[in-house]
């Protein structure tokens, strides 16, 4: 009896000790070289943008037999980044990953991504890198090497509530300039019993995109937030003017608000104009109980917007799976797949052949109002270099919070933000 108890104890201790070994053995298991190659794709985003990725993965698996891809949902862009960090630290990474475009540099810098140049050079199919829209391919590069292919690319737009425009007697078009945005917002604002019941515009303060629309403003005013050498230009006239305009609209005119969830405000009829990605078009139009129209970001001295959205990159560490991952990346961005993305979500064509693809052409003929995304493609430019710093987007978001919620003087905020960005650059690169 005693002996039996002792044996049980010993066996369970041994099992406990061996348990990690089993776990690690499971993780190390490789696909048999004969069967199809299994690869893992980490996707982000929900709603139409998420379903579209799942559907494309299914189609990829049906279209060929060499590779079996598995899509694993990881949450929003930011959550996917966190999991990728944990995966890198643990030495277990997916083969292909959806990345928010500014983060290519951050991961490529430290060797976490596989350079795609050798795959492009060795590719024997009719794959053609020059088919990709140059402005969109550009931020897949870090230094001279290509690390990512453009996938679900977007530009910032403004969306307005056309019913509300008619109600207050505004013309049936979007404000064309920033000054007009202010004027329209004033007309849309409604005050009831001393409280503002409706604002003209909601500026975005959310973590993921606050900086993006502000960049759009700065580009329109002819400036930039930072240059390729990480020189910060926030204290120059264009950025200062945009900051002052936004703050005046919120603090002085009280015709706009800063919101962390502007689209909910918009759908509830609390604001007339919001900023949004081209990728939000499908979801906003289907959820709204009123007519939603997407339009260009207002212009000032020029029409120019920062391009955003996601790219596909390859963290894979295994040679066989890398080649399978390359096939997968090509499939996901080919004309047929891209045309499907365009129709389901409102994202932009990433290749010339996708733009000319019969389905795409037919789709835009049917929904001409959705063509704004393609038209704005002519006025795009990559985002500011500081966006690729770990804390870059957050520092810019805090800047907007200080401007629109804190109401601090523009010159002080811009000086503080410049200092914070310079410090962040030194922390990241030195």
């Amino acid at each position: 009896m005693k002996r039996a108890v002792r044996d049980i104890i010993i066996i369970s201790v041994l099992l406990m000790l061996a348990l990690p070994a089993f776990i690690f053995a499971g993780a190390e298991e490789e696909a048999a070289p004969t069967g199809p190659i299994d690869i893992v794709y980490w996707r982000a985003l929900t709603g139409a943008a998420g379903d579209t990725q799942d559907e494309l993965v299914v189609r990829f698996n049906e279209a060929q037999t060499r590779v079996v891809a598995e899509a694993q949902f990881q949450g929003a862009y930011a959550e996917l980044l966190q999991k990728l960090l944990a995966g890198l630290a643990a030495g277990s990474v997916p083969d292909v990953v959806l990345l928010d475009s500014p983060f290519v540099g951050l991961f490529a810098k430290d060797g976490a991504l596989v350079s795609l140049d050798s795959f492009v050079a060795a590719d024997k199919t009719d794959f053609d890198l020059t088919d990709y829209v140059p402005g969109l391919l550009q931020d897949g590069y870090y230094g001279k090497n290509l690390y990512a292919l453009p996938f679900m690319r977007s530009t910032p737009l403004i969306y307005y509530n056309a019913d509300m425009f008619r109600e207050v007697g505004l013309p049936d078009r979007a404000p064309d300039t920033w000054d007009e945005l202010r004027e329209f917002s004033r007309k849309l604002t409604k005050v009831e019993n001393g409280e503002t019941a409706r604002y003209g515009t909601a500026f975005t303060l959310s973590r993921s995109s606050a900086h993006w629309y502000f960049q759009g403003g700065v580009y329109a005013y002819g400036g930039q937030i930072s240059d390729d050498q990480f020189g910060i230009h926030l204290q120059e006239a264009p950025a200062m003017a945009v900051a002052q305009l936004w703050q005046d609209m919120v603090m002085k005119d009280k015709i706009a608000i800063g919101s962390t969830d502007p689209h909910t405000e918009f759908l509830n009829g609390r604001v007339g104009i919001v900023f949004g990605s081209t990728g939000s078009m499908g979801s906003l139009m289907s959820r709204a109980t009123f007519e939603v129209i997407g339009a260009f970001i207002p212009q000032k001295v020029q029409r120019l917007v920062p391009v955003g959205g996601s790219v596909l990159a390859m963290p894979s560490t295994d040679k066989t799976r890398q080649s399978a991952a390359w096939d997968f990346m090509k499939y996901m961005t080919n004309a047929a797949s891209n045309s499907y993305v365009i129709q389901k979500t409102g994202y932009m064509p990433v290749t010339k052949s996708a733009a000319n693809y019969p389905d795409t052409v037919a789709y835009y003929a049917q929904y001409p109002e959705r063509k704004v995304a393609v038209e704005q493609l002519a006025y795009t430019r990559p985002q500011a270099s500081v966006i690729s710093l770990g804390m870059g987007t957050e520092i810019l978001r805090q800047m907007l919070e200080k401007l629109l919620i804190g109401g601090l003087p523009v010159s002080q905020v811009m000086a503080e933000t410049t200092a914070a960005l310079e410090k962040e650059y030194n922390d990241s690169y030195k």
């Binding site: 369970s12 201790v13 430290d110």
Partner: protein
């Protein structure tokens, strides 16, 4: 008894004495010693076997991360780079110069003070109330306890809607009686109080149940004796109930303070630390640094400071408790 007497007799020759009993030990004694040592050894093996499952898991998932975090706090590392750069105490010194860190520290203590005192006072009052015989007593207890077993994410989401500045239920209600509601979650001055209210609301029932249990374990005779001595109701509370409850109060104070210093989930969802970091607290700031801004070493330094703070505060509380806790 005998050997000890003998030993004391030869106290001036210790070395010899110590070896003496073993040399002169009978075979039975030798066997006894061997037997006990074998039993002891077996006991040690059994003891290790019993604690091994817990100890191994704790080592892997608790002790190792703590030490690794201490180690990382002396490095600059973004979790991506294969190289961790040793920078000494620079993470700690830049923390000391980080205005947001000080703000976060202030918020955390404000939150702890706000939740702990108000919450324990209300919980005690409710417990006293619901300890009396009254109709529907169990229903009230259940209702008050229910937020405790509601998922914190759901709590945060629903309260977020209730306190929403434009269409929130609270605003609608307050406006309907002719008052102005503050913009709870978007106002720098009101956001932290809003968060405190929600955290109190959520954990009130838990504390109340502990107070109820404490109240019910107070012997009736104490009250009877005090009443015979002519104690008023206030005196009954002051001299019987409160001292007898003090172990419960002490336990709840420590648990609540630690809970407040570790506050994360409700704040992350309701305000995400904003606006302007007015609701940012220790653990949230740590999380943001580590997983949103890729500053692993910096975040580890924050974690270590939090560890030291919690440890220190708990030690101080334990010290102070000797003055007012009666077991």
């Amino acid at each position: 008894m005998k050997p000890s007497v003998k030993n004391t007799g030869k106290a001036n020759n210790r070395d010899k004495d110590v070896s003496q009993p073993i040399q002169t030990a009978t075979p039975q004694v030798v066997r006894l010693i061997k037997k006990t040592s074998r039993r002891q050894r077996r006991n040690i093996i059994a003891f290790s076997a019993f604690i091994a499952p817990n100890f191994i898991l704790l080592s892997i998932f608790t002790f190792w991360p703590i030490f690794y975090s201490l180690y990382l706090s002396f490095f600059k590392w973004n979790m991506i780079s294969p190289i961790k750069k040793f920078i000494g105490i620079q993470n700690y010194s830049s923390l000391m110069q980080d205005p947001i860190f000080w703000k976060v520290l202030k918020n955390t203590f404000y939150l702890a003070a706000g939740t702990v005192f108000i919450k324990l006072a209300i919980a005690l009052m409710l417990a006293l109330l619901l300890n009396r015989r009254m109709r529907g007593r169990n229903l009230y207890r259940a209702i008050l306890f229910s937020p405790t077993f509601t998922t914190s994410v759901a709590v945060a989401m629903v309260w977020g809607w209730i306190l929403d500045p434009t269409y929130g239920l609270f605003r609608v209600f307050i406006n309907s009686i002719g008052l102005r509601s503050p913009n709870w979650l978007t106002d720098v001055h009101w956001a932290l109080p809003a968060v405190i209210i929600v955290i109190i609301w959520r954990s009130l029932g838990y504390d109340m149940v502990f107070f109820l249990a404490g109240l019910q374990s107070i012997p009736k005779d104490l009250y009877d004796a005090a009443k015979v001595d002519g104690a008023s109701r206030l005196q009954l509370f002051r001299y019987v109930t409160f001292p007898m409850l003090s172990p419960t109060t002490f336990f709840l104070t420590i648990v609540s303070v630690i809970g407040a210093l570790k506050a994360f989930d409700i704040i992350a969802i309701m305000t995400d630390g904003g606006p302007l970091n007015s609701t940012n607290v220790f653990v949230l700031y740590l999380y943001q640094n580590a997983f949103e801004w890729f500053k692993t070493g910096y975040a580890s330094a924050i974690a270590l400071i939090l560890f030291v703070l919690i440890m220190g505060i708990t030690l101080i509380q334990t010290r102070l408790s000797k003055r007012w806790v009666h077991y």
